[in-house]
């Protein structure tokens, strides 16, 4: 079961189990999300979607807003900033599509910059689950709180979930290759016979600065805009001579359709690309 179908199931259960929970959608996912008195589909009106989530939170509800990444984060970005952040109201934003799941749909449906702009707003917890089980864990935790949480779903996922929070060390060594969310699968394949360390990170904000004790050499592998958390890694390593290299989706406009696998390869985020980037620097 994909992250997306797991989310739809969990959202339905949450609506049944907790009368504080409300779902706000803007046509996307309406067929999969349950028909429920507290599921408000506002039509193709994303500014309203976030404003309504804020108004529900103002009255003590726990709103969940959901759409494709560009339409839940970028189009209503000022609503996210002001209606939720500035008003100090909580909500769970759940996006689908990640950076290039919608490869065939083109640039309008892709948002590799979403985490960078969400990370520019204070008070958000940002999860990049790499497996449906990880999605379930952070979603359930978010339901139990009143804070601001962004969960970025992807059709790319790892073979198995990783247990544990923060920076999870999977293998010791240097450089330490930090794989974010669904990049873990190709990262493990790329590094299977390399003398490097591997760590996993799926909650990127707040950033686990203290987990980098003793680390001096980091390769950061992110499934979105390259270097999104490079500044955080640099801050974590700022008291020692250190080296940081980032792999991710390049900034340049990428005018190709095709499949997610083709985009992954073009960005060097497949196993061969990650391996080449690491070995070139060993």
């Amino acid at each position: 079961m994909s992250m997306r179908s797991r989310f739809y199931r969990l959202a339905g259960e949450a609506l049944e189990d907790d009368e504080r929970v409300a779902v706000v959608s803007a046509e996307i996912g309406v067929g999969e999300l349950p028909d429920h008195p507290r599921h408000f589909n506002v039509g193709i009106r994303e500014q309203l979607m976030i404003g309504v989530a804020a108004g529900l939170a103002l009255e003590g509800m726990r709103p969940i807003a959901h759409s494709y990444t560009p339409f839940v984060i970028e189009r209503p970005y000022e609503q996210v900033k002001l209606d939720l952040g500035h008003q100090d109201l909580g909500a769970i934003l759940v996006s689908t599509g990640a950076s290039y799941d919608a490869a065939r749909a083109g640039r309008t449906h892709q948002a590799p910059e979403d985490v960078a702009i969400m990370a520019a707003l204070p008070g958000w917890t940002i999860h990049i689950p790499g497996h449906p089980d990880e999605l379930e864990r952070v979603f359930r935790r978010a339901l139990a709180n009143d804070d601001r949480v962004y969960i970025r779903m992807s059709e790319e996922e790892n073979a198995a979930p990783v247990r544990g929070d923060g920076l999870v060390l999977l293998r010791s060594g240097s450089p330490l290759v930090v794989a974010v969310g669904p990049t873990l699968g190709p990262t493990l394949e790329a590094t299977a016979d390399l003398d490097v360390g591997v760590a996993y990170l799926s909650t990127v904000r707040p950033f686990p600065y203290d987990a980098f004790a003793g680390v001096t050499d980091v390769v950061l592998v992110e499934p979105y805009l390259v270097g999104t958390s490079a500044g955080e890694v640099a801050a974590a390593l700022s008291d020692r001579p250190a080296r940081i290299f980032s792999i991710g989706v390049p900034l340049a406009e990428f005018r190709h359709y095709g499949t997610p696998a083709e985009h992954r390869a073009a960005h060097g985020l497949h196993a061969a690309g990650i391996r080449e980037a690491i070995t070139r620097r060993l």
């Binding site: 409300a22 706000v24 408000f40 506002v42 039509g43 009106r45 500014q47 309203l48 976030i50 404003g51 309504v52 989530a53 804020a54 108004g55 529900l56 939170a57 103002l58 009255e59 003590g60 509800m61 709103p63 000022e78 609503q79 002001l82 209606d83 500035h86 008003q87 100090d88």
Partner: protein, 209 residues
């Protein structure tokens, strides 16, 4: 608690300006009537048009919702009262505002819980398309807990030919125009809500320009 006649003195405390004709503030009468006659203890008021909040602060102070002493520091570094309200500093403000077009969508979300909501917007604020996302949706679903008052001083550059209330009616609201200086007329305009659909009051005041 103070009376309407005490509001000018409070406004003078806000700005130090004793010569100003405070009755010219576009929102002062509607804000007074809302807080003096309309809002019940379970209702919520959201000021969406956060520009020029002096009248709002003065009315809140007159009603004992913020300390009158806070008026003296208007806009100062440590003040709870800025040129746009911040609800985390002034809980009585309901929401923080300033960027136009945010209050009405939030009001829709709050009204979906069944709470009666009153939201104040300006006629030029309605230029922002986010308002119309809210007006359309609230009208179609018959969101009767929602009440909007438009302060109409014809400050929108391109105007609303035929009256902005017609846009609300077209989207399924009840809407009424009233004299935004006549306290009884304002009260009556709010009271004319049907209880079956969202309600808009267009409170007409003097032209801004």
């Amino acid at each position: 608690m103070l009376a309407y006649d005490d509001v000018p003195a409070l406004l003078t405390r806000l700005t130090g300006d004793e010569k100003h004709d405070w009755s010219s503030l576009s929102t002062v009468d509607v804000l007074w009537v809302l807080h003096d006659r309309v809002l019940g203890p379970d209702d919520r008021f959201l000021l969406s048009k956060g520009h020029g909040p002096a009248a709002f602060y003065a009315v809140l102070a007159a009603k004992g919702l913020i300390p009158a002493d806070a008026l003296d520091g208007f806009g100062a570094f440590g003040s709870m009262l800025g040129y746009h309200p911040d609800r985390t500093l002034v809980p009585a403000a309901g929401i923080g505002s300033g960027s136009l077009g945010h209050g009405l969508p939030i009001a829709v979300g709050a009204a979906l819980t069944g709470r009666r909501i009153y939201c104040l917007v300006g006629d030029a604020e309605l230029d922002e398309g986010s308002n119309w996302e809210a007006v359309q949706y609230a009208g179609r679903i018959g969101l009767s807990a929602l009440n909007v008052v438009v302060i109409d001083n014809r400050s929108s550059t391109y105007h609303w030919p035929g009256g902005v209330e017609e846009r609300f009616v077209l989207e399924g609201w009840s809407a009424v125009r009233c004299d935004g200086r006549d306290h009884d007329a304002i009260e009556e305009a709010f009271a004319s809500a049907t209880g079956e659909r969202p309600h808009a009051v267009v409170a007409e005041v003097e032209d801004k320009r």
